[in-house]
């Protein structure tokens, strides 16, 4: 583990509205605080160096992609799937799923046929 920064996973979402207070500006500018917060949201314990580098890079990238808003006018509908398809379901026929052993084969820790997770609640 090369990160010197202690990880502070705040209750995500809580600080959301105040973190991005430049919403109404034409171009977003990423601050260190915002990158930190995005790291928390994305569950990546970014190191200080990474936060600094990402701040610079994302500002350059954001500036270049902001251009899409020039043509994204209200009368244009959005497209999610480029090839329109009607949702279809497969035949309702039972198939053999992975065995318990197969499903657990890649797990970092298992016990009695289950995944072992670190403590979920408390501790913070």
């Amino acid at each position: 583990m090369n990160s010197s920064r202690s990880c502070s996973l705040r209750g995500y979402g809580r600080k959301h509205d105040v973190m991005f207070d430049n919403y109404h500006e034409a171009m977003p500018t990423f601050t260190r605080e915002q990158i930190d917060h995005l790291g928390d949201l994305a569950r990546i314990a970014l190191s200080d160096d990474e936060v600094e580098r990402l701040q610079k890079e994302l500002n350059v990238i954001a500036e270049s992609i902001q251009k899409v808003q020039e043509v994204a006018s209200e009368d244009v509908p959005p497209t999610a799937n480029p090839v329109p398809l009607v949702a279809h379901l497969r035949e309702d026929v039972a198939v053999t799923p992975l065995s318990q052993e197969e499903a657990l084969a890649g797990a970092p820790r298992t016990e009695s046929g289950m995944f072992v997770a670190p403590q979920i609640l408390g501790g913070e």
Binding site: I35, D40, I44, A45, L46, S47, Q69, S73, P82, P118
Partner: protein, 515 residues
């Protein structure tokens, strides 16, 4: 009895003929490629994993099936390499990421099942930019891959491993995945053929998800006919992929064979005005223009078409793609498979902290960059301005394609603005790196099929790619002129482009294969 070098330089369809006539067995053919892999890998490094033993078993099985008189597809017995973005049961699959190091999938991708059913031995798993994110294969979590044309240069990316393996004769065919150009741009930079099928034309079940609305598996080869044959093996409807098109594939192989007759009378070829201006090297433009002349000489009518929203596609792509990446890569949480890193002492040993430290240690720089950008683009209050706007641009790109295909049967452009660049040249400059895909991204946003074929060497002696686009679900439409152009270029050069490639690794690989 044939020498390794003679065998591996054949096209896949020629290999198939020799297998059919009994002149060579699949085991011999597979062994010949394993010989080349052994001698080429120190300088090329196209593979992350070589599965020689299972490949030979699969080859023996293919030989038995043939001997038993089973009706087999044309490519039966021809070996293939698979990009490590596609899961293979029992063969380690990592997406070139430390976070999946050592993971052995308990199931096969649909395309891998189809390869096995067709009797195509799997030589190994090829290198890529981590989770297919990059245009040079320098972002692999394990090692870079070298371009066979100049080992101080990148093979393109993300599918640099598949392209380099095919270019260096380590494999006659390979599978790739293309989200923004990851099959076609490496094809251009290594002088090989790379095809991105229609979105939904080849099942994505078992392709490790990067950006689900853009990802597409496709064939890599040295000839247009070879990729067509492979396209028909892997394509078609799959009930396990909800975006799979529930229709028959068009007649792709037939179209490629038709193209080899070099008659394009009645075909309208549209040159996309918006691709190919500033930033495109003169050598790339020169080869593109020469190919246009050849198309015209074969009877095609060349027209110019406008696609006014294509200049916005790079921006839309760099919103949609990272957004989908941030969502798809949330699954790497250290719980069920892959890496787990516990927090250091002094930090609470919770599941949430474990995830954060696992992802910090397991993901590389480019992947983190995209996850953070995508997390921002999808966050409440920004979704409409970013993701929403990008999806609107996507509509405009699709309309541009529809309008262009009213004026032309196929569209064409250079595949990549430049030839292969040197290692390190662009790695610290994400924006320059992203521009590599400026000509390939519109096809992913529009869901249309597109392919790159070699168009000659630039003034720096490095390969240039020529790109064709066809309308959705009409992949056959681009195979015909692609095969025709390939034939015309080979006639002009009196040999395929690869005859200019220096292959010192083949000298040491050359030995007689036991019959």
């Amino acid at each position: 009895m044939a020498s390794t070098n003679e065998l591996v330089k054949l096209s896949a369809s020629q290999m198939a003929e020799k297998l059919k006539s009994g002149e060579v067995s699949s085991k011999e053919l597979t062994q010949a490629h394993l010989n080349v892999i052994e001698s080429a890998e120190p300088s090329i490094q196209a593979f992350l994993k070589i599965s020689g033993d299972t490949a030979l078993e699969q080859a023996e099985d293919a030989d038995k099936r043939r001997a038993a008189g089973e009706e087999l597809p044309e490519l039966s017995g021809v070996p293939i390499a698979v990009k490590d973005m596609i899961v293979t049961k029992g063969i380690e699959t990592t997406a070139a990421s430390k976070i999946l190091e050592g993971w052995v999938p308990p199931y096969d991708a649909t395309v891998v099942e189809k390869l096995k059913k067709a009797g195509m031995p799997i030589l190994g798993k090829t290198n890529l930019d981590e989770f297919a994110q990059g245009s040079s294969t320098e972002h692999s979590g394990f090692h870079p891959t070298n371009n066979p044309w100049d080992t101080s240069r990148v093979p393109g990316g993300s599918g640099g491993g598949s392209a380099a393996a095919v270019a260096s004769f380590e494999a006659p065919l390979a599978l790739g995945t293309d989200t923004g150009g990851s099959i076609r741009q490496p094809g251009a930079l290594t002088g090989t053929v790379g095809v991105k099928p229609t979105y939904g034309g080849v099942s994505r079940f078992g392709a490790i998800a990067m950006a689900s609305s853009l990802d597409q598996i496709g064939p890599v080869g040295r000839t247009v006919l070879d990729t067509a044959l492979l396209h028909e093996v892997i394509g078609g409807y799959d009930e396990r992929d909800s975006t799979s098109i529930p229709e028959e594939l068009p007649k792709i192989v037939k179209a490629a064979r038709e193209g080899q007759k070099m008659d394009l009378k009645g075909l309208k070829v549209g040159v996309v005005k918006e691709i190919g201006g500033e930033g495109f090297q003169p050598g790339v433009k020169a080869r593109f223009d020469e190919s246009l002349t050849l198309l015209e000489q074969m009877g095609a009518e060349i027209v110019e078409v406008g696609a006014p929203h294509f200049p916005y596609s790079l921006g839309a792509y760099y919103i949609i793609m990272p957004s989908e990446v941030s969502s798809n890569l949330a699954r790497y949480d250290g719980m069920r498979y892959g890496l787990r890193v516990m927090p250091p002492e002094g930090v609470p040993q919770t599941a949430a902290n474990m995830m954060a430290y696992t992802r910090e240690a397991g993901f590389g720089d480019e992947v983190k960059r995209r996850i953070i950008l995508g997390t921002y683009a999808l966050s409440a209050g920004y979704y409409d301005a970013w993701y929403g706007s990008a999806q609107k641009v996507r509509t405009l790109i699709i309309r541009d394609f529809e309008a262009a295909f009213e004026k032309a049967d196929v569209l064409v452009s250079p595949t990549s603005p430049t030839t292969a660049f040197k290692f390190g040249e662009q790695i610290d400059d994400p924006l320059t790196m992203y521009l590599n895909d400026v000509a390939t991204i519109p096809a992913n946003l529009g869901g249309v099929p597109a392919m790159s074929i070699p168009a000659g060497l630039s003034d720096d002696g490095l390969p240039v790619g020529f790109q064709f686009f066809a309308p959705q679900k009409r992949d056959d439409v681009m195979y015909k002129p692609a095969a025709a152009l390939e034939a015309a270029l080979n006639e002009k050069w009196q040999a395929p482009l690869w005859s200019n490639l220096k292959t010192p690794w083949l000298d040491s690989a050359n030995q007689t294969v036991e019959a």
